[in-house]
C-alpha cells in the first residue's frame, strides 16, 4: 500500500499579510481557506475532509463550525499537532485518507498572529520539571545544535551565513517579503549575536499570516483547471533525547522521514529540481540538507557555500519565496509555506526571476518543535504531471 500518485494538490493560498492586528486568528483561517478553495475552483460545500493543528482556535470542531463547512458532507478530520511541520504531515495524512476513500477533497489551514501578540506556550510534557527551568527557546535550542555541528564537523558561521544570503537573493523578488534587501555574508556575521553561535540574521522573521491547501483525488484534480501537482512520496518521524542515551544533536528526524519519502517516490535527492527546506534558522537548513541526503553528514557547510542554494546560480535552488529567513513565518510554523512555494515552482507560478526551468520534481521538508530538544520532521515529494 502506498500513497504514491493517489492525491493531488489542487488549491493553494498564502495570505499576503505579514502583520494583522486588525483581524482575528479564526478570520485568517477563513481567509486562507477561501483563497485555497477558490484557487482550486471549488466551493466550500465540496470539502469533505478538514485538517488543522494547534494554531486553529479551539481545534477541529470549533473550526469546522466557524468555517461553515458542509457537515452533511464532511467525513474526515485530523488535528495532528507536530509544530511547524504539522501541515506537511497533514498532506501525507490527507493522501492516506483519500487513498482509503475516507474523503475526496481535503482542506488544510494554518493561520495566526505571533507578530501581533505572543503565542501561548505549548503544554508541558513529562520532562517539564527536569527542563522548563533551563529556559530552552528556539534560539538557544538551535544554537546548541549549531555549536555541536561546528565542533564535530568544522562548520563555520560564514557557511551558515550563505543560507541567509541565498534566501535574501530570492526575497528581493517577493513583494510580500518582510525583508527584501539582499545581504552579504559579512552582513550576517556583523549582525548581533543572539544565542551563540547564531546571529540575528541566522534567525527567521516573526510574522502574522497563514496559508491553506486543497488536496484531492487524481480524478477531481484532472477535472479542475490548475496545473497538476501530485504527491509521490511522504515520510514522518520524531526524535528526542530518549533517556539521555547516545545524545547527538547534529542530525534531525529528517534522517528517517527523508529516506521514507524518497523510497516511496522511487527517486533520489539528485532528481530534485527545487527544495523547500524549513528555515527557522540557518542551521536548520544545513542539518536537514545533510539528513535528506543532498550531501554527506558534516558536509552541509561546503554544500551551501558560494551561492549553491541560489536559483539560477547554484545546483539546488531553495526557498525561492525568501522563506522564513526573509519572507514570512506565519504562527512560527514554516511547514505550510514550504509546500506552497514548492507547488508554485511545479506549476510554473514562481516569480520569473527565481522560477526553476523544467521544474518537475520538488521536495517540501520541515520540522516541528525544537531540533535541540525533541521534535518531529516530515518530508513530501511532489511531481508535476
Amino acid at each position: 500500500m502506498t500513497i504514491k500518485g493517489k492525491a493531488y494538490i489542487a488549491g493553494i493560498y498564502e495570505h499576503p499579510t505579514r502583520h494583522a492586528p486588525d483581524k482575528s486568528t479564526a478570520q485568517l483561517h477563513a481567509e486562507v481557506a477561501k483563497g485555497a478553495i477558490e484557487d482550486a475552483g471549488l466551493s466550500k460545500d465540496d470539502v469533505d475532509g478538514y485538517f488543522c493543528a494547534g494554531d486553529a482556535p479551539g481545534g477541529a470542531w470549533p473550526m469546522v463550525d466557524y468555517l461553515g463547512l458542509n457537515t452533511k458532507k464532511l467525513r474526515h478530520v485530523d488535528s495532528t499537532e507536530t509544530g511547524g511541520c504539522s501541515y506537511i504531515i497533514h498532506l501525507g495524512h490527507a493522501a492516506e485518507a483519500i487513498a482509503a476513500g475516507k474523503c475526496s477533497i481535503a482542506l488544510i489551514t494554518l493561520a495566526g498572529k505571533p507578530r501581533t501578540g505572543a503565542m501561548p506556550p505549548r503544554a508541558a510534557g513529562a520532562e517539564a520539571d527536569f527542563e522548563t527551568a533551563y529556559g530552552a527557546t528556539t534560539h538557544n535550542a538551535y544554537g546548541m545544535c549549531a555549536m555541536r555541528h561546528m565542533h564535530d564537523y568544522g562548520t563555520t558561521s560564514e557557511q551558515l551565513a550563505w543560507i541567509k544570503v541565498a534566501a535574501s537573493h530570492h526575497a528581493q523578488y517577493n513583494p510580500h517579503a518582510m525583508l527584501k534587501d539582499v545581504v552579504t555574508v559579512e552582513d550576517v556575521l556583523n549582525s548581533p549575536m543572539i544565542s551563540d553561535p547564531l546571529h540575528r540574521m541566522d534567525c527567521c522573521v516573526v510574522s502574522d499570516g497563514g496559508g491553506a491547501l486543497i488536496v484531492t483525488t487524481p480524478e477531481i484534480a484532472k477535472s479542475l483547471k490548475k496545473p497538476l501537482v501530485k504527491l509521490i512520496g511522504h515520510g514522518e518521524a520524531m526524535k528526542g533525547p530518549r533517556g539521555g542515551k547516545d545524545l547527538d544533536l547534529t542530525y534531525s528526524a529528517g534522517i528517517w522521514s527523508g529516506p521514507r519519502a524518497f523510497e516511496e517516490a522511487g527517486i533520489t535527492p539528485k532528481d530534485i529540481k527545487y527544495a523547500s527546506i524549513y528555515d527557522s534558522f540557518t542551521i536548520t537548513v544545513l542539518m536537514q540538507l545533510e539528513d535528506l541526503g543532498f550531501c554527506k553528514k558534516g558536509e552541509g557547510g561546503k554544500f551551501v557555500a558560494d551561492g549553491n542554494l541560489i536559483s539560477g546560480v547554484g545546483k539546488l535552488p531553495f526557498n525561492t519565496d525568501g522563506g522564513g529567513l526573509c519572507s514570512n513565518h506565519p504562527v512560527n510554523r514554516g511547514g505550510m509555506t514550504k509546500i506552497l512555494e514548492a507547488v508554485r515552482q511545479l506549476r510554473g507560478e514562481a516569480h520569473p526571476k527565481v522560477q526553476v526551468k523544467n521544474c518537475d520534481l520538488a521536495i517540501a521538508h520541515g520540522t516541528g518543535g525544537l531540533l535541540g530538544v525533541r521534535h518531529a520532521a516530515s518530508t513530501a515529494i511532489l511531481e508535476r504531471v
Binding site: G135, R148, P192, P241, K245, L247
Partner: protein
Amino acid sequence: MSEAKKYPAPVTNPETAAFWDAAKQGKFMIKRCTACGEAHYFPRAICPFCYSDKTVWEESSGEATIYTYSLMRKSPTGPYAIGYVTLKEGPSLQTNFVDCDLTTLKIGQKVKVVFKPTDGAPLPFFTPA
C-alpha cells in the same frame, strides 16, 4: 554573574518524588534498569530502552562533561547559558551553567552538579569542576 534569578519550583509527581526528596538532601539521582543495565535521565518508572519495570534509583557522581551549550545573550532575567552535559554514568541531560564566566564555556569541559534553591525542592545545575 548575578545569581538572584528565581527558578520555578518543581511540581513533582509520584513517579519522580524520590528524585526531589533526594535533591533536598543534596543528592543527584538517576535511574538504572536492573534488567538491561542501562542508566537513564530524567527518571521513569519503566525503562525507556527495554520496557522493564525493574528500575532503581542510583546516586550519580554529579561529574559530567559539556556536550554542547549556547549562551543566550539577552532575556528578561539577563544572559544565561543552556547546554547538555554527559554524566560519568552515561546519560546526557539538559541544564544551565552557573557560578562561572559564561563566555569561557567549552565543549568537553569538566563540570559538576550544584543545586539552586526554589520555593520547593532545589534544582540541579552544573558549574566548572
